[in-house]
Symmetry: C2
Subunit: 342 residues, 2 copies
């Protein structure tokens, strides 16, 4: 039986909402990284025969939908609602894909925190007796994001050591009230936090305080400590940002142990792939969860994780106007359901 | 007692979710229009002393929050969740405002359909035993939208007869499980519809089929006819788009009567204000509902309305790449609660 109950300030305990299937599709660089074997599909090139990189990003997202539906043994007609978003202006990847599937759709945007926003909204709606089956997703593409947020890739401009590498990746999950291999335990909706960072080439440092805010809120609301989770995965703080989070949390009296890791830090081999701070983009945490993390939960390596996707909410306009970078993180606690196969 | 129940294909009946207060703040041109007296605040100039128009748009949104909270007799601490969005890339208006109020926030985007998306998400979450009190909003600003989507206003370029005028306007409502003057009856989440329109200067025609799709879905799911509502207000189809909707619906066997009207068509005096097709932007339907429509419901002119905000989901990038314009509409049925004063 599904149920939603608010606990504490910003957390909702969820009962009876399951992940029935996950789909993860990534580009060639992501496929060559340390997690490459654990995605459903790895593209051989970033364009995949599409006329534009924007169309390629849509194709990437739709392939992740197809994989999630296949594993959940659902057809499109079973999907009552699609919730998701992406990094492109007016979230065109999600919205243009929606004209293909034709299912009722709610567009979301929390930058690189969009995947956990989608999981949270989907879980709360199912838990609240709304739709029975929801497809939640997020996507990004290196080529479309770079030219929108930074420079045309053809320029070959030099990237600073703290710059993230926007992942070509999409992740989707089928959420349902029918029992599946994973279950949503609780969600915490984040507040927007801005400590005054201004450098769009160091988003990890800017996002660390937002990650701390949401993680500590979740722990406080649920009466837990970091070690109560087998893993706490932030979204794309990267190599620098995760250090910032550990230091920032220590100053506030919260000690992380080995359970803390980051999707963006895990996606590439920093030494050989020239990815600097690590992976970013809404598709980073979406694909890393839908591929590697979901697999490890299902096969029994872990029982419970807290996924905390992190987003930097600036735009090129706000950067040019000298604004600081507000950030947000949304947390979703996910546990394995033993005895239900995926 | 709150409850959510799915009825039909895409509609959710909602019980026990109320609108406790509404806030509407508009720019000078909107204040000079036929609805000018019915907004809470009318700005004397579009910049209102802010350094940039983007900051002005944020100030506009925050003023609409303040008005809604005041009328609902709520403080910021009472707001458990903010849901909303705007037209600017990366929905910066909503997200930058969120660092000021510091409440948990879910960013949404359905272009000019964002306000009913926010109402729908807020109502379903409250009805599903999530947060007790939610602030739902949408905003737009003529100067920020024009330079993002079309040209710098300083160019003085000629606008075609079907071009909409992006409204400088914000609307916010406090949704709560505590009884208020208005109640949410039901919501229908729209599908993305694309009939192949390519002209960003004729969004009314592009959006009309999406409006039809959602309205007819709502009527079918709830077993109603258009005349069962005192008013059906689409978002910003405008003078041309509403004619398209009437013709398109007639071809499909659905006849509208006097109950059909449009927020964008109502906002300006077409003959004297040089606004061509009428108002558009997420703030258009948000402010017209939060001001004039809510007032008429409360004072007894109408008992029930269907608000159907409409959105064109293109971006400058998709336009330049020769893409067509996908559109969406989300519907929310709202009724007056007699005996509860606002």
């Amino acid at each position: 039986m599904m149920a939603v109950d608010k606990i504490g300030q910003a957390t909702y305990a969820v009962q009876g909402v399951y992940i029935q299937g996950t789909g993860s599709v990534v580009g060639p660089k992501e496929g060559q990284g340390p997690l490459g074997q654990q995605f459903d599909r790895v593209w051989k090139d970033e364009r995949a025969g599409q006329a534009t990189f924007e169309k390629a990003e849509q194709a990437l997202l739709i392939e992740s939908y197809d994989e999630a539906l296949k594993k959940a043994q659902k057809r499109w007609e079973d999907i009552e609602l699609v919730v998701g978003g992406d990094l492109l202006d007016q979230i065109i990847t999600t919205n243009f894909s929606a004209r293909q599937h034709g299912r009722p759709t709610l567009g979301l945007f929390s930058a690189c925190a969009t995947f956990t926003e989608a999981l949270a909204v989907g879980a709360l709606l199912i838990g609240g007796n709304g739709p029975k089956t929801v497809l939640a997703s997020a996507a990004s593409h290196h080529q479309t994001a770079e030219r929108q947020f930074r420079f045309p890739v053809e320029l070959g401009y030099q990237r600073t050591p703290t710059t993230a590498w926007t992942a070509t990746a999409a992740g989707a999950v089928v959420l349902s009230e029918d029992v599946g291999p994973l279950a949503i335990e609780a969600v915490t909706v984040g507040r927007v936090v801005d400590i005054g960072g201004k450098d769009p080439n160091d988003m990890g440092s800017a996002m660390a305080p937002a990650a701390f805010d949401t993680i500590s809120q979740h722990l406080q609301d649920t009466g837990q400590e970091p070690g109560d989770f087998d893993k706490i995965y932030t979204g794309d703080l990267g190599h620098f940002g995760i250090k910032m989070l550990i230091e920032y949390a220590a100053q506030k009296g919260l000690q992380f142990g080995d359970e803390l890791d980051d999707c963006g830090r895990s996606l590439y081999n920093q030494a050989t792939q020239d990815t600097h701070n690590g992976g970013s983009g809404p598709g980073c945490s979406a694909s890393v969860f839908a591929g590697p993390l979901a697999r490890r939960l299902v096969r029994g390596d872990w029982d419970r994780i807290l996924l905390v996707a992190t987003g930097a909410l600036f735009s090129p306009t706000t950067y040019q106007q000298g604004e600081t970078i507000p950030c947000v993180a949304h947390a979703v606690a996910i546990k394995a359901v033993r005895g239900a196969g995926q």
